[in-house]
């Protein structure tokens, strides 16, 4: 049985068709799978392997390289706090300690109710608002302990769902406008080019 639900499966096939080599779609497909479950379940990796023509071990290998891909279960909200230099100078370590205390989990841990996972992150590219915090890869610009607590309360109460969808939906994977170029056009161009080569 397919791991991806029908809509996701269609999206997955679209993604594969985007690239000249199927295996180039490996990372996008991992993001897609995370959208469904929050993390890469073994079944997901096996299905991705089949879709892009590599082995499950290779999918695991690639996925485990990236911090944004989770090969272990994570909470509904993944809270990432940057501790690189700009943020560190502006209280990142303290905020991280506070977050750990507030959530009651060590860095890297997931709360018992499965709602939050706390992560220490490398530069998140928002250095002018230190210390930088992301939830499910969305900047929340929450730089103080108080603001952090309010955010957690809100999320725990089920708020801000519009702004922070569950799990790590990435803009590139789910562009609102769909694919920029329709797949048949890509196929046509490719065929033309192949002919030109021959």
């Amino acid at each position: 049985m397919s791991y991806f639900n029908a809509a996701m499966a269609a999206r997955a096939r679209q993604l594969v068709s985007l690239y000249p080599k199927a295996r180039s779609a490996l990372v996008p497909l991992c993001h897609l799978a995370q959208e469904q479950d929050g993390w890469l379940r073994p079944e997901a990796m096996e299905e991705i392997a089949e879709l892009v023509g590599v082995t499950p071990a290779e999918v695991r290998g690639t996925a485990s390289f990236y911090d944004m891909l989770h090969t272990e279960p994570v909470g509904r909200y993944v809270v990432s706090i940057c501790t690189n230099i700009a943020c560190l100078l502006d209280g990142a370590a303290e905020l991280l300690d506070h977050a750990s205390e507030r959530l009651g989990v060590p860095v890297g841990g997931t709360t018992a109710d499965g709602v939050f996972t706390l992560e220490e992150a490398e530069c998140l590219a928002d250095c002018d608002h230190p210390p930088c915090v992301q939830v499910n890869h969305r900047f929340v610009r929450t730089t103080t302990a108080d603001a952090f607590d309010r955010l957690i309360d809100e999320l725990a109460a089920g708020g801000r769902t519009e702004e922070i969808p569950p799990h790590g939906t990435l803009v590139r994977i789910r562009r609102s406008g769909g694919l920029r170029v329709p797949p048949d056009e890509i196929a046509r161009e490719r065929a033309q080019r192949a002919q030109g080569d021959g």
Partner: protein
């Protein structure tokens, strides 16, 4: 400074540490330097893998337009006029740095590490390292070890992240079941949690790991390299003939490592070949037909140790081996000692011969013998006993007269032929390392494969065209390939391969020279054990007639079956690829006598013994074979053994047939006797002796000469060397060949007979960094290539072109005309049975090896999904398969690689309930094809 002068074309001249040296164009600095005598340390570089430059251990200074820069010597190539420095302070500092970093994360648990004493990390740290570490923090810790498979364990903290193992899996085996996971210092080799590293080639990763991160379960903690002894030899688990270093300690085999042989195995082994040495040690048989009740086994399936009360081999040190001569006393075997057992065997055989003539005796088996043993047994059978009913193949091969008469291709020629037509089963299952060679040849664009097989195989995805055939279709497909268009045998479900595919295949052949066929190699074996061999044989014959320039590589898989055939162990032939008639005068002159007329092949022998009556076979001599397990038709084999008046078994391992034996003679097996072996391409290589045979077991040839003595004849051979000399003298294909050549430098990878048909390729020196464990053991005083002499090299080259044979020597064999038997039309209700081989089957090599035995898969009834749907059978459901011969209950499996109208039951596997070999319960070996019915329970 004047520009250095350019060398001959294809070479470049550069400066290496101030010396001018020559390298090949495009050659890597690391190997050019090595050939020039400058060793550059390395970890990730392996001469048989594509370089990746991952470990940086090989940094050297390369002088370029912008001055000298540090570059990895395994990536940089030599340039005309270039300058390389390997011994500057800067290089030394880089080496220090890399090693210090590697050791930060390394546990240095050498005292409890299998690699200690043969470890490239130890050796290179000593030679190039800083000698001191500045790291005082806590090191990484991992749970240790974790199992990647039943055979391979991983100690992650020892891994230096060189990627040799992962690259091997992907690049060489084509099965990336392991890959790096994680990043940075947490990078680890990992499998997917639910998918173990089941590749047939997994042991090679253990062999090439430059540290003790990967260990093999059979070897782990069994020995220290400095306690090991070794000998160079050849694996005879199948007929590829991979070169190996066989290592032992205290008269027990501990490990086999692949030697790098350019013409054969490129340093790789399959796991069966690598680990089946356990069966030779034979000290534990975990399960299987020989010990279904869990008790240790001495002999025969129904004779567990207790049943022998007092009479038997209490003294035997090895329970998985036959170690003492025995004779039957009523319904039991009793220990006899050699003189009594030989006398008894000779008496019984002599009686049969006196009463019924020599034709009443048949000798089966021989694929497990050395060439010398095979020659001695042929001489015993054909010159002394006088029977021509001798067969080293047990109904699972092809007619010897055809195989020996076809012009032979080498493995190298096959892997560089523009087109290879492959007829037969799955090469990865039958001749594993040949699969690696063919796969590489296809990926490198050297060859294209036209595959003709009854089901899709591991090579299918690499084949340019893959043609499915049903039993009996092969001759028609061969005719079409040969440019003689005609219909395929009709079938209700339509042909198994399409006209377009056939046209495509034909076009490939035409593009490669068509009927001239000189760029075509036909690699051929047995497609299925459930159909008459004449189908495959006729197909090959058709191609041989149509393509006079083509060459042929036989894929008969049994250990030394090619040596046995070359030595005459088949009906209608005599040693040296000579026909019985063609060689009659010559061999009468040398031997005194040869059989009156052509004898019976294995199937006819068993049929005759089973049926009895006047002129039938009454005595069976089994030489290292068990028809109950090896012959495709178990019922016929059982009737034959029951019907035979006398059964003499020469056996190394206990097996069910021994129950029927009147006399059992224990024989030394692989690694227990010296000699030579001949592989699929006709390459003769050395077999080294590493062990003293267990108990009273004797070498194969000694038993033949002793038995001849008992019968009152002198075989006139007193040693392996004498036999080899006699072979050279009398066997035409071995003319000029002396085993002494194999001890010379360029003889190490063997010589192809007849001499002069293939050159002796360069032999690689042992590379202690590529395959740790051989060179290091050698340094400790155990040279595997003992007796290596360079002085007689010239003699060897001359020998490659031997003098023509003298007066009266037999002419080369002529290809026999082969016609396929008539193919009965299929009906709508039956499926046609196909039986192919798996690597891990219930052969004594696997069942006797505790590490391999659990890997034998259960037999299943495999059919096309649409066929199962038509019959209303679910994938995984238990079904009853019925043939006129018998009935078995198996799990059904859907397999899209099986054509419609066909049912596949693989040979000699375990049936789920533990009963072995469902296939041979279904097969009738005396009919052209076997039709079976499939029903749900």
């Amino acid at each position: 400074m004047a520009e250095p002068q350019a060398g001959p074309p294809g070479t470049v001249t550069f400066t290496l540490d101030g010396r001018r040296v020559t390298g090949r164009e495009g050659e890597l600095v690391i190997s050019a330097a090595e050939r020039a005598g400058v060793y550059i340390p390395r970890f990730c570089y392996h001469p048989r893998l594509a370089p990746v430059g991952m470990c940086r251990m090989c940094l050297v200074e390369v002088v370029g337009p912008r001055g000298a820069t540090l570059q990895p010597a395994c990536i940089a190539t030599v340039e005309e006029g270039g300058e390389i420095v390997t011994d500057s302070p800067k290089v030394k500092k880089a080496q220090d740095g890399i090693l210090e970093f590697l050791l930060i994360n390394h546990p240095l648990d050498c005292p409890v590490c299998d690699k200690g004493g043969e470890c490239p990390l130890q050796d290179q740290t000593l030679a190039y390292g800083p000698g001191e570490s500045r790291f005082v923090e806590e090191k990484r810790h991992f749970a240790k070890p974790i199992a990647l498979s039943e055979l391979v364990l991983l100690d992650r903290e020892r891994c230096i992240q060189c990627g040799r193992c992962t690259r091997f899996a992907e690049e060489v085996a084509g099965e990336a079941q392991i890959d790096f996971a994680g990043r940075g210092e947490r990078l680890e080799v990992a499998m997917f949690p639910t998918r173990p590293f089941t590749s047939y080639f997994s042991g090679n990763t253990v062999q090439i790991c430059p540290v003790g991160a990967l260990t093999a379960t059979p070897y782990r903690f069994t020995a220290r390299p400095w306690d090991l002894d070794q000998v160079e030899s050849t694996c005879t688990t199948c007929a590829v003939g991979c070169r190996v270093a066989v290592q032992s300690s205290a008269n027990r085999l501990t490990r086999l490592l692949g030697l790098d042989s350019e013409p054969v195995n490129h340093s790789w082994l399959c796991d069966k070949g690598r680990f089946a040495y356990e069966a030779v040690n034979g000290d534990e048989v975990r399960a299987g037909p020989a010990a279904a009740d869990g008790r240790p086994v001495t002999l025969g399936s129904s004779h567990p140790r207790g049943a022998f009360a007092g009479e038997v081999i209490e003294t035997a040190s090895k329970v998985g081996r036959v170690t003492e001569p025995m004779v039957r006393a009523g319904d039991r075997h009793v220990r006899a000692g050699w003189s009594r057992a030989l006398a008894e065997a000779a008496r019984r055989l002599g009686e049969v011969r006196a009463a019924h003539g020599p034709e009443a005796i048949a000798v089966l088996g021989g694929g497990r013998l050395t060439n010398e043993g095979a020659y001695a047994w042929t001489k015993l059978a054909k010159a002394v006993l006088g029977t021509d009913s001798v067969d080293a193949q047990l109904g699972d091969g092809l007619p010897a007269e055809l195989v020996l008469a076809l012009p032979r291709a080498t493995i190298d020629e096959t892997c560089s032929a523009p087109v290879v037509v492959l007829i037969g089963g799955d090469v990865r299952e039958e001749l594993p390392v040949l699969f690696l060679r063919l796969r590489r040849a296809v990926l490198d664009g050297r060859t294209r494969i036209v595959e003709v097989s009854p089901r899709s195989t591991a090579l299918t995805q690499y084949a340019a065209v893959s043609l499915r055939v049903r039993p009996g279709d092969v001759p028609a497909v061969a005719r079409i390939l040969a440019g003689q268009p005609g219909p395929l045998p009709s079938h209700p479900a339509g042909p198994a391969c399409s006209p377009e595919q056939l046209a495509q295949a034909r076009a490939l052949v035409e593009a490669a020279g068509g009927e001239a066929g000189s760029s075509v190699v036909v690699a051929y074996g047995r497609s299925s054990l459930a159909e008459d061999p004449s189908f495959d044989a006729a197909a090959v014959s058709t191609l041989a007639v149509a393509w006079p320039g083509a060459r042929f590589l036989p894929l008969l898989r049994r250990g030394n079956v090619h040596g046995a055939l070359d030595m005459g162990m088949a009906p209608g032939i005599l040693p040296g690829r000579t026909s019985l008639e063609g060689g009659r005068a010559w061999f009468v002159e040398h031997w005194g006598s040869v059989p009156r007329a052509r004898g019976k092949a294995a199937t006819e022998v068993l049929q005759s013994a089973a049926e009895g009556g006047p002129g039938s076979v009454r005595a069976l001599v089994l030489v290292g074979c068990d028809p109950l397990q090896d012959f495709p038709d178990a019922a016929l084999a059982a009737r034959a053994l029951a019907g035979a008046e006398v059964v003499v078994a020469v056996a190394g391992h206990p097996s069910p047939a021994l129950d029927h034996a009147d006399v059992v003679l224990p024989v030394a097996v692989a690694h227990e006797r010296p000699g030579t072996t001949t592989n699929i391409e006709g390459r003769v290589t050395r077999l080294g002796q590493k062990l003293v045979p267990p108990g009273l077991a004797w070498p194969d040839w000694t038993i033949a000469t002793a038995l001849a003595d008992e019968l009152g004849y002198d075989l006139a051979i007193g040693s392996v060397t004498e036999i080899a000399e006699e072979i050279e003298r009398v066997a035409p294909a071995y003319r000029g060949f002396s085993p002494g050549y194999l001890d010379q430098v360029s003889g190490h990878d063997g010589l192809v007979v007849p001499l002069g048909t293939a050159d002796a390729p360069p032999v690689a020196p042992i590379d202690p960094m590529a395959t740790p464990g051989i060179g290091q053991v050698e340094q400790q005083g155990a040279p595997p290539r003992a007796g290596l002499t360079e002085t007689v090299e010239r003699e060897l080259l001359a020998a490659l072109h031997p003098e023509p044979a003298g007066e009266g020597a037999p002419a080369p064999m002529r290809r026999p005309a082969v016609e396929p038997v008539a193919l009965p039309p299929p009906d709508h209700y039956s499926l046609r049975l196909v039986s192919t081989r798996r690597l891990y089957d219930r052969s004594s090599a696997v069942v006797g090896s505790p590490s391999l035995e659990p890997l034998v898969p259960p037999a299943r009834a495999l059919a096309n999904p649409s066929e199962l749907a038509r019959l209303g059978v679910q994938d995984g459901e238990r079904v009853r398969v019925t043939s006129p011969r018998g009935q078995v209950v198996l799990e059904a499996g859907a397999d899209a690689g099986v054509p419609k109208g066909v049912l596949v039951v693989e040979f000699n596997l375990a049936e789920p309930a533990g009963a072995p070999n469902a296939a041979s319960a279904l097969i009738d070996a005396t009919v052209p094809v076997n039709d079976v019915r499939l029903e749900t329970l």
